[in-house]
Subunit: 76 residues, 6 copies
């Protein structure tokens, strides 16, 4: 796979959150590499509240990692 | 997306908990950006106890992050 | 919402566990603010073993936070 | 509720694991205080592999807490 | 229960991973002590992808604990 | 089982993420060692969005471990 991440460092908590979202998506992409299949699944899970909550949980776990990597952006 | 968070710092544990709720909601918003669809889903999951427990879990994970970022509000 | 938490500090692990339970409940309350609806859901999930295990998981996550905030009550 | 825990300290990892099990059970007991109902649920979830895996997950989360509280029993 | 663990220390990450698997299994064993019942359940969950992913998650949580206990095998 | 991991150290966050994927897969392999059965399950879960999200969650948990083991690749 091409290079998609260089560092866990971000300038702001919001960029860190968006990196967490990318990490969550990449976990899905590596497991299901077909863009076509993923596109077909999207309308399904994005209207299912339990799937959305589960996706939000994966983001939360990655956000813990990114926040720790940035020392919680404490010096900002 | 517009700026919705500036810092993980909060004055009190309660504000920290409310920030954790915001983070959990944002994870859902980024995944399903349509306000209309999210509004339609709300009555469904907010009356399903398992969905509520799952939402509470996402909040719990984010609260770990926010609490660590605030050194558990120990000096207060 | 009125003030419902002042500190993550507790005197004992048991009080810390009870605070973790409160935090888990608050995650549900913020998501479903209606007391009437929550009361109606209670008999349902409190007799479903999978819901009980899931509730216990949310408590476990919060207990990690509370225990860390109290340095695991090590000096007691 | 009567006193059921005094400390997170245990002499061995195995006792720590057993404390984690107690904590997982207590999360269920506080949510469903009726012994009669819990007894009725037991045969159901204890024969459901997904429930057993979920119970094992709650134990795993508590074991993280207990292990950290004991500094991973490193000096033993 | 007989003694089944003495220490969280392992020589290598792979042994640590295998200890995490043992811990995940023990969480199930304590909850369902009957070997006969567990054997009957095995063919069921071991062919269900969602059960396998859930089992892998429990292992992942325990591996966090074991890895921390070994300081991530950094000096090796 | 043959040796499949030597260290949690990786040169980059991306290699760390790919190690997290390997760890998630190994959790499944140890639980279901049959290659034939795993191959049969793959088309099923890889087209189920909830399974994909769950797999992404296991990866996220392992990525926390790998990131901590690499001190978040901070010096890079």
């Amino acid at each position: 796979m091409e290079k998609w991440i260089r560092s866990l460092k971000t300038n702001t908590p919001q960029e860190g959150f968006e990196l967490a979202i990318l990490l969550a998506q990449k976990g899905i992409e590596y497991t299901q590499p077909s863009v076509a299949i993923r596109k077909k699944l999207r309308p399904k899970y994005s209207k299912n509240p339990d799937s959305l909550i589960a996706a939000s949980e994966v983001i939360a776990i990655h956000f813990q990692t990114v926040a720790a990597a940035n020392n919680y952006w404490k010096t900002k």
